[in-house]
């Protein structure tokens, strides 16, 4: 079970790590790189708490092998804010009380950003279906959907 050397870019920074081929990208982010913002809620791609982007594509990092990250650009919740400035989604989640326990929040923020990157004015239905793979047990989704819509609206005005 020899480990494989992996070079990748995470949130813009070059990284190297050794991955057992059985380890998921989520395991590698959390255990090798200390990026514990991505969470494991299920390990089967059903909850979305581990959402990251790989070369811009939204995926569950529990369903990606660490060794597959070779040469890829990975985006996680830790890379959402630009230095000290929060992404509008992050700010709106706080303002709308769109989190209670906060465990699903990193995955939802990453997923919502991927939505807004490709659709600047999603409808409520589009937001709900896009986020259907991000389980939240605390909020009933109401304030999450409102926060995403409000962030989208603010980002449209800022353009």
């Amino acid at each position: 079970m020899s480990k494989i050397h992996v070079s990748a870019v995470v949130n813009g920074d070059p990284v190297d790590f050794l991955a057992d081929p059985r380890e998921s990208l989520l395991d590698c982010l959390r255990d090798q790189l200390g990026l514990t913002g991505s969470k494991e809620g299920c390990g089967t791609g059903d909850c979305g708490a581990c959402s990251v982007t790989v070369d811009g594509v939204l995926v569950c990092s529990c369903l990606v092998l660490g060794v597959e990250a070779e040469g890829k650009a990975i985006g996680t919740v830790e890379g959402l804010s630009d230095g000290g400035t929060l992404h509008p989604l992050q700010r709106k989640f706080i303002e709308h009380a769109a989190l209670q326990c906060g465990f699903c929040t990193p995955g939802i923020l990453v997923a919502a950003k991927a939505l807004l990157d490709q659709n600047a004015s999603p409808t409520e239905t589009e937001v709900r279906y896009w986020l259907a793979g991000n389980l939240c047990r605390c909020t009933g989704y109401d304030k999450i959907v409102r926060a995403v819509m409000d962030a989208a609206s603010e980002m449209r005005e800022a353009v």
Partner: protein
């Protein structure tokens, strides 16, 4: 577990031929990783096919059909406007697999080779008359999609064989397809029943039809009687009733945590009629 990333299918074949234990291929990865994590299957050799040139391509063929690479994700399929316009049923089946996140990874080939009778993308491919190219120790061959699944978790692919591409025939004029599934929630569930129908029209009359059912038998069903019930009709109530009767008769579901025999048979009839109406409307150009 050994992880391999060949750059040609021939290299992939060699690796598979030399492997001694459990071998798995990675097209998307969603199923393999779930099984790995749950301890159901830990392959000794995992062969990642995503780095082979061409596996991410969707290409128009000379006859007006399509060849879809085995690593094309559901999201990529859904973004391909021309393909969506011609084969909306095939694409909507694939796009129902899992979440947005899963769509970034899951593939037609993976969904097919996983062997689940409830695979959402498979009935659409079967109804479309799709075929797959296979390479193996004994050379290459082409199979109809409906000839791949064998039983839950098993396929008719021989040891060491790899699917190299998926082919859709030309849509032709006045053709339409659709896929509907039933799930208890709005998303994130495995199909309790799935139904795909592809048809072509001659004027208002149905000229050709293929009807496929998912999750109601050990493998996807291509139901000739159901197709026969449609051909030559204008999808009137009588044709719909005959379609429902034929589909229900063909279904051999089981009772499990997702549904009962009776429920699956009832819903098979419901979905058959609803799917037929959509496919017919699409063929008439009323809806895309």
């Amino acid at each position: 577990m050994h992880y391999h990333k060949p750059h040609t299918f021939e290299d992939a074949l060699k690796i598979a031929a030399n492997a001694r234990g459990v071998t798995r291929f990675l097209a998307g990865g969603t199923d393999v990783l779930v099984q790995l994590r749950a301890g159901i299957v830990t392959p000794d050799d995992l062969i990642d096919l995503k780095l082979i040139p061409g596996v991410h391509d969707i290409a128009r063929t000379a006859d007006g059909g399509w060849t879809i690479g085995i690593a094309v994700s559901g999201a990529e399929l859904g973004r391909h406007a021309a393909l969506v316009a011609e084969w909306p049923g095939v694409v909507e089946g694939m796009n129902l697999v899992g979440s947005t996140q899963v769509q970034g990874r899951a593939t037609l080939a993976g969904n097919l080779c996983n062997g689940s009778p409830a695979a959402d993308s498979v009935p659409g491919l079967v109804a479309a008359g799709a075929t797959v190219s296979v390479i193996g120790p004994n050379g290459t061959r082409k199979l109809a999609v409906e000839d791949i699944p064998a039983s839950p978790g098993r396929t008719h692919l021989q040891a060491g064989e790899i699917v190299t591409a998926i082919h859709l025939p030309p849509r032709g004029a006045q053709g339409g397809d659709a896929y509907l599934r039933f799930i208890p929630r709005t998303e994130m569930d495995i199909a309790v029943v799935g139904c795909a129908i592809s048809l072509t029209l001659d004027g208002d009359k149905i000229a050709t039809a293929r009807v496929a059912l998912g999750a109601v038998a050990p493998k996807v069903l291509l139901v000739a009687d159901a197709a026969a019930a449609l051909i030559g009709t204008t999808l009137d109530d009588k044709a719909l009733a005959a379609l429902q009767a034929a589909a229900t008769a063909a279904a051999q579901p089981i009772t499990d945590r997702r549904g009962t025999v009776e429920f699956r048979k009832d819903v098979t009839a419901v979905l058959a009629a609803r799917t037929a109406r959509i496919a017919y409307a699409r063929a008439k150009g009323a809806v895309k």
